[in-house]
């Protein structure tokens, strides 16, 4: 199956600066993919290359298997809300959308729908110059949705928003994913994406660090946290089975092993357990552990 978005060995140089360095990844259809990396990692440049706004120095970027500029209906194939999306301050929100719709050959009634989708109907007649950052982000998303595309690219859609705005964007993207669309959303804020994304692509300094399902990266069930009145005995039993144990203060301990193995040891030892749950690595921890020097994982 053709991936929705594909980046093949892409390098982009601006003069002496290598913004993106031999980067490759694919985004499969119907998923929400988080595109992670610290500021300056090359996320925006990569997204702009995908959208034909920046030409790669070498390598290929494909949207549904073809270059963006060769798409017969670009706006109906992929919608993009870029961080740098600008609006003419004197232009009314509804006019901004009407212009894009007219140029793309989209019927004007779609404008009302997308304004509704992003809760901007009440502000449709206002000039964009008076919009808050959150309203601009929502207008950018509305623009991206004009062509009702199956693929959405959003560059830092929550950047600079207040918690309420962040919550709205997160819900909005989840809703789009629930409709079966492919979403590629970038952020430098790792924890936030953990709640939204199915997959992640992590880059740093223009190079790929990791790519894959969030669950794989966070290592589901590899660590178990327990609280027991008999911590000493349980630690000994686990250690005897070859499971490393870390004692925490009082009656808590953490076992380095799959939940299933730890559970069996507990049952055999007949020890009372007050609390027990699998402890996942946070995405942040995963990212940091993966990029930490000398770390075997």
């Amino acid at each position: 199956m053709t991936p929705a978005l594909a980046v093949h060995h892409v390098t982009k140089r601006f003069g002496d600066v290598v913004a993106v360095d031999d980067l490759s990844f694919e985004v499969t259809g119907g998923t929400v993919t988080g595109f992670l990396g610290p500021n300056g990692a090359g996320k925006s440049t990569t997204l702009r290359m995908l959208l034909g706004l920046v030409r790669p120095t070498t390598g290929r970027v494909l949207v549904t298997g073809v270059a963006y500029r060769d798409l017969s209906q670009p706006v109906r194939t992929v919608g993009a809300a870029l961080e740098a999306t600008g609006f003419h301050p004197r232009r009314r929100a509804v006019d901004h959308l009407r212009i894009a719709a007219r140029a793309a050959g989209i019927t004007p009634d779609r404008v009302g729908q997308v304004l509704d989708d992003v809760d901007l109907t009440a502000a449709a007649g206002r000039r964009v110059g008076g919009f808050s950052l959150g309203m601009r982000q929502r207008l950018a998303l509305a623009t991206a949705l004009l062509g009702d595309p199956q693929i959405l690219i959003a560059d830092e859609p929550t950047n600079g928003l207040d918690p309420q705005g962040v919550h709205w964007v997160r819900g909005f993207l989840r809703q789009l994913a629930a409709q079966g669309r492919t979403v590629l959303v970038s952020s430098h804020h790792i924890a936030e994406l953990a709640l939204t994304a199915d997959d992640v692509v992590i880059i740093r300094c223009g190079r790929l660090v990791a790519a894959g399902p969030v669950d794989d990266l966070t290592g589901r069930g590899q660590r178990v946290w327990l609280r027991t009145p008999d911590a000493e005995r349980l630690a000994a039993a686990l250690t005897a089975e070859g499971i490393a144990v870390t004692r925490r203060d009082g009656d808590e301990l953490v076992a380095d092993g799959p939940t299933e193995d730890v559970g069996r040891v507990v049952a055999r030892a007949g020890i009372a357990i007050y609390e027990m749950h699998a402890e996942r690595l946070s995405l942040e921890d995963a990212f940091l552990s993966m990029t930490a020097p000398g770390d075997p994982s």
Binding site: L51, V54, P74, G86, F87, H88, D95, R102, A103, A104
Partner: protein, 554 residues
């Protein structure tokens, strides 16, 4: 492409650009039309209602070129300034298509300004003139060329603006550079002795024109056809960008772009921008060939207009023919309540004598007349029968001039509508002494021509007018030249001529009583051949243009 252009127009509509453009254009045009109307008819400016004046007013529309240039620039730079270019390029990934859409939009806008401006001029001028009771003649002359020039130049400036905007994406720089170029750099060039290159610069033609006025005929003569068109368009005052100018501008802007180059931004391909500029330059070159103003005709037109304003002459027509075969024509003044056009017919007065003389010489060639035979051989009853044909042709027969005869001028004043017969005219001088014995001296005498007319009639059996018509006018195919009938002065469509009864060189308001050829400059101005050469005449005619026709009555 249609929907892209529609989107571009919607972009303009949704901001203040169109409103500001409209207000600026209308305000500028009204102010300049007002100035033109106020100055019309004064020194150096044509009277209102004339085709010249209308051309000048249409030319006023040309002042909008810098405004549409800036709008063309804004069409591109506003996208970069407000970072809307990304959205535009997401919709239209092909930069060339977007740029072409913008160029087409700019051209349409320029066309709208040109048409709207001319309609405004027309509305104001016609309503103003109608209110003032001045008849309007808007269709004669070269108005169509001026209209064409305005229609070509303004959209071209708008398209050039798009090209400049694509090369210099910084809005302020992209607006300031061309305006400074047009308004400052090109103005200063002559101070550095570089006036010669002005004609190759975008706005240079208009300013270069007057400075080249010193050698107009030679300059224009080299390229007759284009020269003539230029002369006409000159009065439209529309100066499309010179071909070299756009190329030069684009080179400069390319350099600027290199300096300010920023690859991170979505780039409109400079190559495409250059192609647009190139096409604009090519079209401008074509338009420039037809619409480039030439100084000569205008400065001569100014001289003619100023001269007419100083004298009581109500209408004048001038044809200039240079050795290169280039013919330029101009008219000034009014007749019968209307502005005169190049096709206006004037009575040529004593020039008619040359036509009669040509007939006489033809008859001599045909051996029906003898050059040295006395008049009496052909007109036995003549009181001047001893004077030879040669002496009559060269004003050496001593025959008294009836115009100088006592009572002639006073009678003209008293009875302006009187038509004189040949017998009556000759009666005025028949009994007077000769001015000198035949062949002994020279004195210009209108009577000589009357006598030659009698000779022609005696030999051919038809009127002198018939002979001139058949033997000269028809043979040379002078379609716009006619021999009038008895009441020539009142002929419709002929500029009335007046008689100088007081002998002060100025016309008195007495209708010219004599038949004379009527002709317009049309055959001369329109003929690609050199004007017909007259038979070399021994008649010195320095005064003749001011006196009357061949004084041949019936």
């Amino acid at each position: 492409m249609t929907r892209l252009v529609a989107a571009e127009l919607a972009k303009l509509r949704s901001t203040r650009v169109l409103t500001v453009l409209t207000i600026l254009v209308v305000a500028m045009l009204l102010a300049l039309i007002g100035m033109q109307v106020t100055n019309a008819g004064k020194v150096g400016a044509s009277s209102l209602g004339t085709a010249d004046s209308f051309r000048a007013l249409l030319g006023v529309v040309g002042v909008t070129t810098p405004i549409v240039l800036v709008v063309g620039v804004l069409l591109v730079t506003a996208e970069f300034r407000h970072a809307t270019i990304a959205t535009s390029l997401l919709v239209v990934p092909q930069r060339s298509r977007l740029l072409v859409a913008k160029a087409v939009t700019a051209a349409l806008l320029g066309g709208a300004v040109a048409v709207g401006g001319m309609v405004l001029v027309l509305a104001v001028v016609v309503s103003y003139l109608a209110a003032a009771g001045v008849p309007v003649d808007l269709v004669s002359g070269d108005v169509a060329l001026a209209v064409g020039g305005v229609l070509a130049a303004i959209p071209l400036y708008a398209v050039a603006g798009v090209g400049i905007g694509a090369l210099i994406r910084h809005q302020t720089v992209a607006v300031v550079v061309p305006l400074v170029w047009l308004g400052v750099v090109e103005q200063l060039l002559p101070s550095y002795g570089l006036a010669g290159i002005l004609r190759w610069l975008p706005g240079g033609d208009e300013r270069a024109g007057p400075r080249r006025g010193g050698r107009p005929v030679a300059d224009v003569g080299r390229r007759p056809a284009a020269g003539r068109l230029r002369d006409r368009a000159r009065r439209g005052r529309c100066a499309p960008p010179g071909p070299g100018g756009l190329v030069m501008t684009s080179s400069i802007t390319t350099v600027v772009r290199r300096w300010s180059g920023d690859g991170r931004r979505a780039a409109v391909s400079p190559l495409v921008a250059l192609v647009v500029l190139g096409v604009a330059a090519a079209v401008a070159a074509l338009a420039g060939a037809t619409a480039r103003p030439a100084a000569a005709a205008t400065s001569i037109q100014g001289i003619v207009d100023r001269w007419r304003a100083r004298t009581p002459v109500h209408a004048v027509t001038v044809v200039l023919s240079d050795p290169g075969g280039d013919v330029r024509s101009m008219v000034s003044g009014r007749a019968a309540g209307r502005p005169v056009g190049v096709d206006a017919r004037f009575r040529v007065g004593s020039v008619t004598k040359a036509f009669v003389a040509a007939v006489v010489l033809q008859l001599i060639d045909e051996h029906r007349l003898e050059l040295d035979a006395p008049l009496g051989r052909y007109v036995p009853a003549s009181p001047f029968g001893d004077v030879t044909i040669r002496q009559l042709l060269s004003h050496t027969g001593g025959v008294p001039d009836f115009e100088q005869a006592a009572g002639y001028a006073t009678d003209l004043l008293a009875r302006p509508s009187r038509r004189w017969t040949t017998a009556q005219v000759l009666g005025l001088v028949a009994d007077r002494d000769r001015d000198f014995p035949p062949g002994s001296a020279y004195a210009y005498s209108n009577t000589d021509a009357v006598l030659l007319g009698q000779v022609v009639e005696a030999v051919t059996g038809r009127s002198w007018a018939h002979a001139v018509q058949r033997r000269v006018i028809d043979r040379l195919d002078l379609r716009d030249t006619t021999v009038p009938g008895r009441d020539a002065a009142a002929a419709p469509g002929v500029v009335a001529s007046w008689f100088d009864t007081s002998g002060d060189g100025f016309d008195d308001r007495v209708p010219d009583p004599w038949p004379a050829l009527e002709t317009s400059q049309g055959p001369l101005a329109r003929s690609s051949r050199p004007p017909p050469t007259w038979p070399s005449s021994p008649v010195p005619c320095s005064r003749a243009t001011w006196s009357r026709g061949p004084r041949v009555g019936r």
